[in-house]
C-alpha cells in the first residue's frame, strides 16, 4: 500500500457530513464526555455541523429513493446510500481500532475503508445534483472496541452489500452502469472473503454455506425491499424505497 492516510488526511477526504461526525467524535473524546453523549450532542449540535456539510441530511429526515429501478439514478442512489454506510463504518473502525488489531488487520481494514470511500465518491460524482444527501450513521449497536463486534458487523455489511448489488443488476438500464456495478460488487465480495477469514480463520467461512447456497453455489441476491430493512437500523434518516414493479 502506497499511502496510509493518517487521521488528518482522512478527515480531509470525507464529505462534510463525516467531517462533522469526526469533529463530534474528537470533540467528545476531548472533553471526555462520552457517557453523556446524548446531552452533549443535542446541546452542541449547531456548533459541530461543519459549514461544508450543507446538503447533508439530518437525523429524522426522510430520504426518498422512490421506485428503485424506475431509472438508473434511483439505482445509483441506492448504491450510494449503501456505500455511504459502509464507508462511515470503516472510518469509525479505523478511528477507534479495536484492542489488539494486528498489522494485517490494520492494513486490510484501512484498505477496505479506502475502497468504500472511493466507491462512495464515485457515486456522488456520477450522480451530481441528483445525489441524495450525505447520511448520518447510527452505530450505537456496534461495539467498536470489540474485534468480534466489528468484524461480525463488517461481514454482515459486506454480505448485504453483495446481495444488494446482485439483486440490483437487473434494474439497471445502462450496460455501462451494469458493468460498473459488476466492477464494484466483486470487490465487495473480496471484502467478505477476507473479513470472514479474519473472523473464522482456516474454515469455509470465506464462502460459507450461510452466504452461498450449498446446493446451487449461488451467492445471495436481495431486492431493495429486502435490503433496506436490514440497513435502516444503522442510518438515522428514514430511507424510503420500493421495488420497481417488474
Amino acid at each position: 500500500m502506497e499511502k496510509l492516510p493518517n487521521t488528518t488526511d482522512v478527515s480531509q477526504l470525507l464529505t462534510g457530513k463525516e467531517s462533522a461526525a469526526l469533529g463530534r467524535r474528537i470533540f467528545l473524546r476531548y472533553i471526555g464526555a462520552t457517557a453523556a453523549a446524548g446531552v452533549v450532542l443535542s446541546a452542541c449540535q449547531n456548533q459541530i455541523v461543519d459549514p461544508a456539510a450543507r446538503g447533508a441530511a439530518r437525523a429524522g429526515d426522510v430520504i426518498n429513493l422512490g421506485d428503485i429501478g424506475y431509472d438508473d439514478a434511483g439505482v445509483l442512489n441506492y448504491a450510494y446510500a449503501l456505500e455511504q454506510l459502509e464507508a462511515a463504518f470503516y472510518v469509525q473502525v479505523m478511528m477507534t481500532p479495536f484492542a489488539g488489531m494486528n498489522g494485517y488487520e490494520r492494513q486490510a481494514l484501512s484498505e477496505i475503508r479506502d475502497h468504500e470511500i472511493i466507491h462512495r465518491e464515485l457515486f456522488k460524482a456520477a450522480l451530481g445534483s441528483a445525489a441524495i444527501p450525505g447520511l448520518t450513521p447510527n452505530f450505537s449497536a456496534i461495539n467498536f472496541n470489540s474485534r468480534a463486534s466489528v468484524l461480525g458487523t463488517a461481514r454482515v455489511f459486506e454480505s448485504v452489500g453483495v446481495s444488494a448489488y446482485n439483486g440490483a443488476g437487473r434494474l439497471l438500464k445502462s450496460a455501462d452502469y451494469l458493468t460498473l456495478a459488476g466492477k464494484i460488487v466483486s470487490v465487495e465480495a473480496r471484502h467478505v472473503s477476507i473479513i470472514s477469514e479474519l473472523l473464522n480463520p482456516m474454515t469455509t467461512s470465506f464462502a460459507g454455506d450461510d452466504i452461498v447456497d450449498p446446493m446451487t453455489a449461488l451467492g445471495q441476491a436481495r431486492k431493495p425491499s429486502e435490503v433496506l430493512p436490514l440497513v435502516q437500523p444503522f442510518i438515522q434518516e428514514k430511507i424510503n424505497g420500493k421495488d420497481q414493479p417488474q
Binding site: 500500500m1 502506497e2 499511502k3 488526511d9 477526504l13 486490510a108 484498505e111 479506502d114 475502497h115 470511500i117 472511493i118 465518491e121 464515485l122 460524482a125 456520477a126 453483495v162 448489488y165 446482485n166 439483486g167 443488476g169 437487473r170 450496460a175 455501462d176 452502469y177 451494469l178 458493468t179 460498473l180 459488476g182 466492477k183 464494484i184 460488487v185 466483486s186 470487490v187 465487495e188 465480495a189 473480496r190 471484502h191 467478505v192 472473503s193 477476507i194 477469514e197 482456516m202 474454515t203 469455509t204 470465506f206 464462502a207 452466504i211 452461498v212 447456497d213 450449498p214 446446493m215 446451487t216 453455489a217 449461488l218 451467492g219 445471495q220 441476491a221 436481495r222 431486492k223 417488474q246
Partner: protein, 256 residues
C-alpha cells in the same frame, strides 16, 4: 478438444435450441437442482423457468452462448479442483478445507448450467491441466497449484463480469450469473490470501496480456483526482471485466 471449436458448435446448436429446450423443459428444468437455484434467486421459480426456457432462448441465442461459455470455464475449474483433491496427500489442512468448499461450488455451477442448458449444453472438454506443459508440477507443487487456482478465480470473475451486459435481455438469467460471479470473487480473495497476496487486485498483475486493472477513471470520473487516493488504491477498488476473446486467449492452453 479445441475451445474455439466448442464455441463454434454452440453457435450451430443455437439454431434449434428453442425446440430442444421446449422439448426438454419439463424433465430438466424442474429438477430439484434448478428449483433450488431459483429459490435462491430473487425471482419466483416459475418466472425464472419460463424466462430461461421460452422467453430468453426464444428471444436470443446469445444467452445460450453465454451460458455455454460459462459452463466451459466451470468445467475447467471443477476438473482442476477435483483432480487436486483426488491426488493422494496433496492438499491437507486449511488447503483441503478451502479447496473442498471451492470444488463443491464449481461442481454445483457445472450442474446448474448444464441443467439450465439441457440438451444445448456443451460436453465436457478434454483438459491439459499442465497448461500446455508450462506447469508440469501442478499437482505436486502447492505453489504452482495456488498460482493457477488464483488465476482461474480471477479470470472467472472477469469472465462473468464481461458477459453480464450480454444477459440484460434476460434479467432472471442475469441475476443468476451475478450470483455466480460474486461467488467466484469470494473464492478469488481466499486463494489470493493463501498465496500470500492481498485479497484484491493491486494495479495490473505482471505477466498478463492486458493492463485494464491500472484504470484510475471509472464512470467518467478520475478517482485519483476526485479522492486524492493513489492509483494503486483506486485500482484495488474495482475489478475489470474481460471479453470472451480475451478469456479464451488466456485459457486456451488448458484445452487439450
Amino acid at each position: 478438444m479445441n475451445l474455439q471449436n466448442i464455441l463454434h458448435e454452440i453457435e450451430q446448436v443455437d439454431t434449434d435450441v428453442v425446440d430442444r429446450l421446449d422439448h426438454m423443459s419439463r424433465r430438466h428444468m424442474f429438477s430439484s437442482l434448478v428449483k433450488k437455484a431459483v429459490v435462491a434467486g430473487s425471482a419466483a421459480a416459475p418466472v425464472v423457468l419460463a424466462s430461461l426456457l421460452n422467453k430468453t432462448y426464444g428471444q436470443s441465442s446469445v444467452v445460450a452462448e453465454v451460458l455455454n461459455f460459462a459452463l466451459t470455464l466451470e468445467y475447467l475449474e471443477a476438473e482442476y479442483y477435483n483432480v487436486s483433491l483426488a491426488t493422494p496427500g496433496f492438499l491437507n489442512g486449511e488447503a483441503r478445507v478451502t479447496f473442498a468448499q471451492i470444488a463443491k461450488h464449481e461442481n454445483a455451477h457445472v450442474a446448474l448450467l448444464k441443467g439450465a442448458l439441457g440438451s444445448a449444453a456443451v460436453a465436457k472438454p478434454k483438459f491439459d491441466l499442465t497448461y500446455g506443459g508450462a506447469y508440469p508440477d501442478t499437482f505436486s507443487n502447492y505453489r504452482t497449484f495456488l498460482t493457477q487456482a488464483s488465476g482461474f478465480e480471477d479470470v472467472g470473475v472477469r469472465a462473468y463480469k464481461g458477459q453480464a451486459p450480454r444477459l440484460m435481455s434476460a434479467p432472471d438469467v442475469l441475476t443468476i450469473a451475478l450470483q455466480i460471479h460474486s461467488v467466484e470473487a469470494l473464492h478469488a480473495a481466499k486463494v489470493r490470501y493463501l498465496a500470500g497476496l492481498q485479497g484484491w487486485i493491486n494495479l495490473s498483475p505482471p505477466g498478463l496480456p492486458y493492463a485494464e486493472e491500472d484504470k484510475v477513471s471509472q464512470g467518467g470520473v478520475n478517482l485519483v483526482a476526485a479522492t486524492g487516493y493513489s492509483a494503486a488504491l483506486v485500482s484495488q477498488a474495482f475489478d475489470e471485466p474481460l471479453t470472451k476473446d480475451q478469456i479464451l486467449a488466456i485459457v486456451k492452453p488448458y484445452f487439450a
